[in-house]
């Protein structure tokens, strides 16, 4: 067995090793549970930092490529040749079928998100002063702010200890603006802010 990985666990997790060094460690941890645990822990550390950094909405096209939907096997190349011939023959309809499938997958993902909200205990309260509501999990694990008739982006703030902590921006699409906030805090007072002015306030009960 090679030497234990020590500080290289952190180096691996931080992307500071080349492929050769990485595969040397992969090989070692396959037969050394202690080093595997140290490596997994370093991965968790880096993931915790990545999660605390600004998050960006991925494009809708971020979906698994078709090749990940089925496992390849020895007959795949031959099958692919036949499939390609068929695909060329029916390319236009195949394209629309593919688009349809993608839209369907996007709708299923939305339905999943809605189902998570609908199936967990939640409450909804209106913002005083604005045509807006907040739905939230009674365990404080998520908040969904919905603003109707919004014409410009607004900020959602958490009011606590005499301070405002900005949580995010609700951007209108059409005349509805929605902001989903996965959180781990119970926030009992939220405010809507537009142009540095508080335009609505909601009190949440847990």
């Amino acid at each position: 067995m090679n030497a234990h990985i020590g500080d290289d666990a952190a180096s691996y997790a931080l992307g500071m090793l080349d492929e050769l060094e990485q595969s040397r460690i992969d090989e070692h941890v396959a037969s050394c549970p202690a080093c595997a645990a140290a490596l997994a822990q370093a991965f968790d550390d880096v993931a915790a930092i990545a999660e605390a950094e600004p998050q960006h909405a991925p494009p809708m096209s971020l979906r698994p490529p078709a090749r990940m939907q089925h496992k390849a096997s020895w007959w795949m190349p031959a099958f692919a040749a036949v499939a390609a011939a068929i695909a060329i023959a029916v390319l236009p309809s195949a394209y629309f079928y593919g688009e349809n499938q993608r839209m369907h997958a996007a709708m299923l993902a939305d339905a999943d998100a809605m189902a998570r909200i609908a199936s967990s205990p939640h409450r909804a309260v209106a913002f005083a002063g604005a045509n807006a509501n907040v739905m939230y999990g009674t365990d404080g694990s998520w908040y969904c702010v919905i603003v109707r008739g919004a014409t410009k982006p607004m900020q959602v703030a958490w009011m606590h200890d005499g301070r405002q902590t900005m949580l995010g921006t609700v951007t209108p699409h059409g005349d509805v603006a929605i902001l989903y906030l996965p959180k781990s805090h119970r926030m009992d007072q939220l405010a809507l802010v537009a142009d540095d002015q508080m335009v609505g306030q909601a009190r949440l009960v847990f």
Partner: protein, 202 residues
């Protein structure tokens, strides 16, 4: 729970394809880890669905370009898909493993010289058009800043150079004028403390 909500349970539409191993696991994370190690196609679909935002953001925060970030996520996952032993249960959670894979792929891309030049061009050509897509969780961000500030400076500085500037050990050792071994161990120590402060260590 209503009948509609029941029929919409996450992952239900993929359930028929799950194997006995993953169905019998104790938790959704456990099930995903088993299925991921077994390279079941639904596990990859589920990983995209559950961790898409985190993985894309991880890539974006290194590459600062939407297309590059998206390519990077695809390439990192495809690499795991292609190599039979890339992930095993011993490597911990699928989520952390994929964050590291995506981040490593992003750093490799960033280090390539031509990419770096293209990046400069693109960043210059794209003013703040993506800002509306960006959600800063200020509570989380404050927590990260506070945790970093709490590290001893001799650990914080090399860790910042490694994480935020993607520098190599040699570059950091030279910049801070300290031996390579010292640099490595200070980064490792800093990462352990930061992870603990962010709740990644029990």
């Amino acid at each position: 729970m209503t009948a509609i909500a029941q029929s919409w349970q996450p992952g239900k539409q993929l359930g028929a394809r799950r194997t006995l191993v993953s169905m019998h696991a104790d938790s959704p994370d456990e099930a995903l880890a088993c299925a991921f190690a077994g390279k079941e196609p639904w596990a990859f679909e589920e990983a995209y669905r559950r961790f898409g935002t985190l993985l894309y953001s991880t890539a974006y925060n290194v590459l600062a370009n939407r297309e590059d970030a998206q390519d990077c996520v695809h390439e990192a996952l495809a690499r795991v898909w292609r190599s039979p032993d890339a992930y095993s249960r011993a490597k911990g959670s699928v989520r952390s493993f994929l964050v590291v894979c995506v981040r490593n792929e992003a750093i490799t891309r960033l280090r390539s010289k031509t990419r770096r030049l293209r990046l400069v061009d693109r960043v210059a050509a794209e003013p703040q058009e993506h800002d509306e897509l960006r959600t800063i969780d200020f509570v989380e961000h404050d927590r990260l800043r506070a945790a970093l500030a709490a590290l001893p400076p001799e650990q914080r500085r090399p860790l910042e150079l490694a994480y935020y500037e993607q520098k190599t050990h040699t570059e950091i050792a030279r910049e801070l004028d300290q031996p390579l071994g010292t640099t490595k161990s200070r980064i490792a120590m800093g990462l352990r403390k930061l992870g603990a402060a962010l709740g990644a260590r029990s």
